[in-house]
């Protein structure tokens, strides 16, 4: 454990923050501008993992393990979410022969 935390602390904290901010922004922008449902899904995963990265970094720097426990929860949740999300996408494809989210615009005013 000491080994891992010291390894993490080799890189300064600022770099972690910067990296996860960049990954998170890529995720947000990806969600906003892409129309392929799978890509959007992947971008959501990017955002989640950016946060995970940050949690782990803070946890190591402040010597508190609860941040890493939290990451496990996030990953478990993400896995469950992926299962449901992919199932939805498969059903969408079967029904519309496309995974373009702009096709799914019938539920409106």
């Amino acid at each position: 454990m000491d080994n891992i935390t010291s390894t993490i602390q080799v890189v300064p904290l600022n770099h972690y923050i910067l990296l996860s901010a960049i990954i998170f922004s890529i995720g947000v922008i990806g969600v906003l501008i892409r129309r392929n449902a799978i890509i959007i899904f992947m971008c959501v995963e990017l955002m989640l993992n950016a946060v995970n990265l940050l949690l782990v970094a803070f946890s190591a720097y402040s010597g508190d393990a609860s941040g890493q426990v939290f990451v496990f929860f996030v990953m478990a949740l993400a896995a469950a979410e992926v299962a449901v999300g992919l199932a939805i996408i498969v059903m969408v494809y079967r029904n519309t022969s496309s995974i373009d989210i702009n096709v799914l615009n019938r539920l409106k005013w």
Partner: protein, 633 residues
């Protein structure tokens, strides 16, 4: 026997339940017998109590604890004393006669079962009213008889006029009931109790003219005005004649309308100590007596004549109460119950024979066709006119003697009312039974004496009207005045404060002589006018003299109330409906609805169905929240 007092109201209540539930499938014979037997059984128990009771103090029968809140303890208990026993005998005795009469009178009516159920319920509530040992139980009975009166006036509710008459009676009674209720509240806050046995001794220690007592008694008297049809709330009683005739006899002549007199006689000590209220009662009673008598002079509907006569006689009773003649007033309640029930039942018999015709202008010459009805009604008329030795003479004379001692002017007006009474009653008799028949041939063909179930009560009541007065023969005529001795314990605390009647015998003989002489003259005048000259009241379409018109139109009381109460109330309701309700409350509520519809018409366009837009909006929202929390802290 006294312990069985709870049976008295129970019998009619059971009768009500059986007849009410079985009204559609029980045969008429069963319904009629159950209803009559229930009241007769109560009469039997009452009679037993009457003969057994000899205490001077009231006996309180505690049935169960009813309301116990804070400092107030209201038990459900009955009070037996001379006053309630006599009322019990009147209610159950005359009640059972009228039940028997109704079996014949209502035999062709479709609502036979309903009628007897209501009648039993009425008797139940009336018994509760007189038996209650506190004002709250009395109030239950008070409201209950009002309800039954409403139900029975509107018995033939398919006729809109009858239904309106029922509503009128109910609403006018409500005005009085409010006064009664406020009076009871004031009693609670003053004495901390509602039981007669606790209030009256406390009140007896208060000084005469106490402001609170005066207010209490005025409020109670307002209740009596409504229930006993006095000025200015009397107009419901003549309209109440819309109900079946036995109802008029039982409720609107013999029992319910005397509830106000019973209540005041019961609370006599409170009233004795409030001279102001006493004067008000005397003046209102006298004014009612004289105005109703004047109206009765020109009425052509046989039941209306009797109705106004009832109002007028009730006025006499209040006049008696107002001058402190409690025994006299109660005596008149008793004799009036006999002869007025008799007159109403006789009128019912006439109406029955005339195929539901009530207009005296179409009657005449019924003497030979309805001999029993004629003879019994003649007894009743002689009694109400106040000729000795009939019942009305003694009671009316006792009231007038007290009035004479109290105030000579009141006496003169009261005597005038008595003469008017004799005149209009004999006018009714002459128009109905003498002369030649004025109805249609078909009615003439149908004329018949009523069945035995109707004539038997008439005969019994006629006997009572003749001999009923002997229970109160005054000392001056060699009697012992049994009634006054019997009731003495009830009015003891009042008489000790007011003193006895102190007229010498010459004055009493003179008073009797004047009133009897006047009555004979009034009867003679009626005889000359209606038999010698064969005068028949003119039709509605023909002109009348100004005075007759005022009397015939009942002093325009209804029109007056219409103008000063109903019209402004209608206008106010119209204002509230159109302005406050329609353009105020409705506009607000509808405005909210319309506003949200308009707003959502624009806002719903945001829901485009474009997932990208939703995500964009979400991100914008998250950023906005972040900025908000960032700048806030």
């Amino acid at each position: 026997m006294i312990d069985l007092v709870w049976l008295i109201p129970l019998f009619p209540f059971i009768g009500f339940l059986i007849n009410g539930l079985g009204r559609n499938f029980l045969p008429k014979v069963v319904i009629g017998s159950i209803a009559s037997l229930a009241v007769l059984a109560s009469f039997g128990v009452s009679l037993g109590i009457f003969f057994e009771f000899n205490a001077t103090e009231p006996v309180i029968i505690n049935l169960f604890d009813w309301i116990k809140v804070g400092g107030i303890d209201i038990p459900f208990s009955f009070q037996i004393d001379q006053l309630s026993i006599l009322m019990l005998l009147i209610i159950t005795g005359i009640g059972s006669l009228i039940h028997i009469y109704s079996v014949g009178y209502m035999s062709h009516d479709a609502g036979f079962g309903k009628f007897f159920a209501y009648l039993n319920l009425f008797v139940f509530f009336m018994l509760l009213l007189v038996l209650g040992s506190n004002y709250v139980i009395m109030f239950i009975g008070w409201e209950g008889v009002g309800l039954c009166s409403y139900l029975l006036i509107g018995f033939w509710y398919t006729n809109a006029n009858y239904a309106d008459a029922a509503k009128k009676a109910f609403i006018m009674n409500r005005i009085g009931d409010l006064g009664f209720l406020l009076g009871v509240f004031l009693i609670i806050s003053t004495f901390g109790s509602v039981s007669f046995a606790e209030i009256f001794p406390k009140a007896a220690g208060m000084i005469s003219g106490d402001a609170t007592l005066t207010l209490i008694t005025i409020l109670l008297f307002i209740g009596a005005i409504g229930k006993s049809a006095q000025l200015p709330l009397f107009t419901w009683l003549p309209d109440a004649m819309a109900g079946p005739t036995p109802v008029s006899a039982l409720i609107h002549a013999a029992t319910m309308v005397t509830a106000g007199i019973y209540m005041i006689a019961r609370s006599n000590i409170l009233f004795t100590l409030s001279p102001v209220t006493m004067s008000i009662i005397a003046v209102i009673g006298l004014a009612t007596a004289i105005i109703a008598a004047i109206i009765a002079l020109t009425q052509t509907d046989i039941k209306k004549v009797l109705a106004y006569s009832t109002v007028s006689q009730l006025g006499y009773m209040f006049l008696g109460l107002g001058v402190g003649a409690y025994t006299g007033a109660f005596f008149h309640v008793l004799t009036h119950a006999f002869f007025k029930a008799l007159l109403f039942l006789g009128a019912g018999s006439v109406i029955h024979a005339m195929s539901d015709e009530q207009d005296m202008r179409k009657m005449g010459g019924l003497k030979s066709k309805l001999p029993i009805t004629f003879f019994t009604m003649l007894m009743g008329t002689l009694a109400i006119s106040g000729l000795p030795p009939f019942a009305g003479f003694f009671s009316k004379d006792e009231i007038l003697a007290h009035v004479y001692e109290h105030n000579k002017l009141l006496w003169i007006i009261g005597l005038l009312g008595a003469l008017l009474t004799a005149f209009y009653m004999f006018r009714m008799m002459f128009l109905t039974f003498w002369g030649s028949f004025r109805g249609t041939e078909e009615q003439k063909h149908h004329l018949h004496e009523s069945p035995i179930s109707m004539t038997l009560p008439l005969i019994i009541l006629a006997v009572l009207s003749v001999v009923g007065g002997f229970i109160g023969v005054p000392e001056v005529l060699g009697g012992g005045h049994w009634l006054s001795h019997y009731l003495a314990p009830v009015f003891e605390s009042s008489t000790s404060k007011m003193g006895e009647l102190a007229l010498d015998h010459t004055t009493e003989y003179m008073l009797m002589g004047i009133s009897v002489g006047g009555v004979v003259l009034a009867i003679l005048y009626a005889y000359i006018k209606y038999i010698k000259n064969n005068h028949v009241p003119v039709l509605d379409s023909e002109p009348r003299s100004a005075l007759a018109k005022i009397s015939y139109s009942k002093f325009y009381f209804d029109e007056f109330y219409n103008a000063i109460i109903q019209k402004p109330l209608d206008a106010l309701s119209g204002f509230f409906y159109k302005v406050i309700d329609k353009s105020g409350i409705d506009a607000l509520v509808n405005g909210l609805g319309k506003g949200s519809i308009e707003a959502s018409k624009t806002l719903r366009l945001l829901q485009t169905g474009n997932v990208g837009f939703y995500i964009f909006a979400m991100v914008i929202g998250v950023i906005a929240l972040l900025l908000y929390s960032f700048f806030k802290f």
